[in-house]
C-alpha cells in the first residue's frame, strides 16, 4: 500500500515536472517569434505544443538511467527508491516555478539533476554522486554552450544584416519573419524528442523501483501518452514571463536577429545531439539571443538581465538540490512524510501562482516591456537600425 501511494505520487509529480518543463521552455523556441510578431502569441505556443507532442512520440531512446551516471545507482552507490525520485522531482518543480516567477530561463534538466542529487546525497551520502561526471557532463558544457551559441548567432546576425543592407532591402523583414518560424519549429521538435523522454524515463524507473513493472520492461504506451500530453499542455500554457525576458528584455529582438538566433540554436542543438555531446536547449537559445543582440549595429544588450539569468543558472543545481534534499529527509520518515512533502510542495506551487497573478504576464501583454528602473540601462537615443 505504502509503495503504491509513493509510486502514484511520483507519477503525479513527474507529470507536474513535465508540465513545468514545457511551460519553462516554450520561450526557447518561440520567444523570438513572439517578440518580432512573426507569429501571434497564441499561435506560437500552439505550434510549439503540437511539435512537442509529436516529438514525444518520435523519440525512441528513453533514458535508461535516471541521471546519465551522475548518481551512482545500484549496490556501490545509492538505491534509487520511488521516495528519492519523488523528493528530487519536488525540488526540480519548485525551482522551475520560482525561476518562472522571476521570468528567468533556466534549464529544467539541471533542475531535475539538482533535485535528484540532493535526494541522493540524503539517501546515500556524498559518495552517491559521481562528481567528476557531474563536472564533465553538466557543469562544463553549461559554461561553454551559451558562448558557443552566442558566437555563432553573432556571426549569423552580422552576415544577415550585412547581406540585406541592414534588413532594409525590400521584403527582407517579412522574409526573415517567415524563415524564423521554420527554425523555431525545428527547435520545438527537437525539444519534444529530448525532454519528454526524460520524464518517461523517470516514471518508468519509479514503476520498476516500485515493482509495478518488470526490471527489463520498456516504457508503457500510456506513459508515453501522458508525458507527451503533459509537456504539450505546459508548452501551450506558455511561460509568458520567460518569453518576455528572452524576446524583449535581453535585447529587443528584430526579425533578422530572431531568424539568426533560432537558426543558430537549432544548428547547435541538432549537431550537439547528433555528435553525442548534448547541450542544454535553454542555455543554447539564451546565448544565441545575446549573440544576436551583439551582432546588430545599435542594438543594446541588457547585461543586467543577462547577469540575472546567469546567476539563476549558477543557483539552479544547488538550489534544486537543497529542496530535493530537504524533501528527501522529510519523505524518508514514512508515508506520512511523503504526504507532508506533497502537501507543502503543492502549497508552495499555489503560492507562487497567486504571487504571479499580482503582476500577470499573458499572451496579451507579453511584448509590452515597461521601463522599470531595475531592468534597464537607458536605451541608445536613436534606434536607427529598425
Amino acid at each position: 500500500m505504502d509503495v503504491v501511494v509513493t509510486v502514484v505520487l511520483v507519477i503525479v509529480v513527474a507529470l507536474v515536472f513535465d508540465f513545468t518543463n514545457g511551460f519553462h521552455d516554450t520561450a526557447n523556441a518561440m520567444a523570438t517569434s513572439v517578440a518580432t510578431g512573426a507569429l501571434r502569441p497564441r499561435v506560437a505556443v500552439l505550434i510549439s505544443a503540437v511539435l512537442n507532442l509529436v516529438g514525444a512520440f518520435l523519440s525512441t531512446e528513453v533514458a535508461k538511467t535516471i541521471s546519465n551516471g551522475i548518481i551512482r545507482e545500484g549496490p556501490s552507490g545509492v538505491s534509487i527508491t520511488p521516495t528519492l525520485i519523488f523528493a528530487g522531482l519536488v525540488g526540480a518543480v519548485l525551482w522551475n516555478l520560482l525561476t518562472w516567477y522571476f521570468g528567468l530561463p533556466s534549464s529544467s534538466t539541471h533542475a531535475l539533476f539538482g533535485g535528484l542529487i540532493g535526494a541522493a546525497i540524503i539517501g546515500g551520502g556524498l559518495d552517491a554522486v559521481n562528481w567528476a561526471a557531474l563536472l564533465s557532463s553538466v557543469v562544463l558544457p553549461a559554461l561553454f554552450s551559451p558562448f558557443v551559441a552566442g558566437l555563432i548567432a553573432l556571426a549569423a546576425t552580422f552576415a544577415a544584416y550585412k547581406i540585406t543592407q541592414q534588413a532594409l532591402a525590400r521584403g527582407s523583414q517579412t522574409g526573415f519573419r517567415r524563415a524564423q518560424t521554420v527554425s523555431a519549429s525545428l527547435v520545438s521538435l527537437a525539444h519534444g524528442t529530448n525532454d519528454a523522454q526524460k520524464t518517461m524515463g523517470v516514471i518508468t524507473l519509479a514503476l520498476i523501483a516500485g515493482h509495478v513493472l518488470d526490471a527489463k520492461a520498456g516504457v508503457p504506451w500510456w506513459v508515453i501518452l501522458i508525458c507527451g500530453l503533459a509537456i504539450a499542455l505546459g508548452t501551450y500554457t506558455g511561460g509568458w514571463r520567460i518569453i518576455r525576458t528572452v524576446g524583449k528584455r535581453i535585447t529587443d529582438v528584430q526579425p533578422a536577429q530572431g531568424f539568426a538566433a533560432e537558426t543558430s540554436a537549432a544548428a547547435t542543438i541538432l549537431s550537439s545531439s547528433a555528435l553525442g555531446f548534448p547541450l542544454s536547449t535553454t542555455q543554447v537559445t539564451s546565448g544565441a539571443v545575446v549573440g544576436a543582440g551583439l551582432g546588430r549595429r545599435l542594438a543594446s544588450v541588457h547585461w543586467n538581465v543577462v547577469g540575472r539569468i546567469a546567476t539563476g543558472w549558477v543557483f539552479t543545481l544547488p538550489a534544486a538540490a537543497l529542496v530535493g534534499g530537504l524533501a528527501a529527509v522529510v519523505a524518508g520518515w514514512s508515508v506520512a512524510g511523503v504526504i507532508i512533502v506533497a502537501v507543502v510542495g503543492a502549497a508552495a506551487m499555489v503560492g507562487l501562482f497567486l504571487l504571479a497573478r499580482r503582476q500577470p504576464v499573458t499572451h496579451e501583454n507579453v511584448n509590452e516591456v515597461e521601463d522599470d528602473a531595475e531592468m534597464d540601462e537607458p536605451a541608445p537615443a536613436g534606434r536607427g537600425a529598425r
Binding site: G55, L58, S59, T60, E61, A132, L135, S136, L140, P141, F144, V148, A149, L151, I152, A153, A155, A156, T157, A159, A160, I163, T164, Q165, A169, R170, G171, S172, G175, F176, A179, V182, S183, L186, L189, A190, T193, A256, F259, A260, T263, S264, A266, A267, T268, L270, S271, S272, S273, A274, L275, G276, F277, L279
Partner: protein, 76 residues
C-alpha cells in the same frame, strides 16, 4: 579526472557554425536577390533563379535537420 571530450566539443562548434552561417547567408542572399529591381521595376530572371536556388539550399538544410531530429530515420 575531468574527461571532457574536447574533440567532440570542437566538432559541434564547427558543425553548428558552418550550418548556421550557410543557412543564414544563403537565405539572406535570396532575400537580397528578390529585392533586386525594386518597386515597379522588373526583376532580372538571373536574380529570380539565384534566389530560388538559395532558398532550395535552405530547404534542404531544414529537411536534413528534421532527419536528424527523428531517430526512426537514422536507426538510432
Amino acid at each position: 579526472m575531468i574527461d571532457i571530450d574536447w574533440g567532440a566539443f570542437g566538432l559541434v562548434l564547427v558543425a553548428a557554425l558552418v550550418a548556421s552561417v550557410v543557412i543564414v547567408v544563403f537565405y539572406s542572399v535570396a532575400l537580397r536577390l528578390l529585392a533586386v529591381g525594386g518597386d515597379g521595376g522588373r526583376r532580372p530572371a538571373a536574380a529570380t533563379i539565384g534566389a530560388v536556388v538559395c532558398i532550395a539550399i535552405c530547404v534542404a538544410a531544414v529537411l536534413y535537420g528534421i532527419y536528424l531530429v527523428i531517430p526512426l530515420f537514422h536507426g538510432k
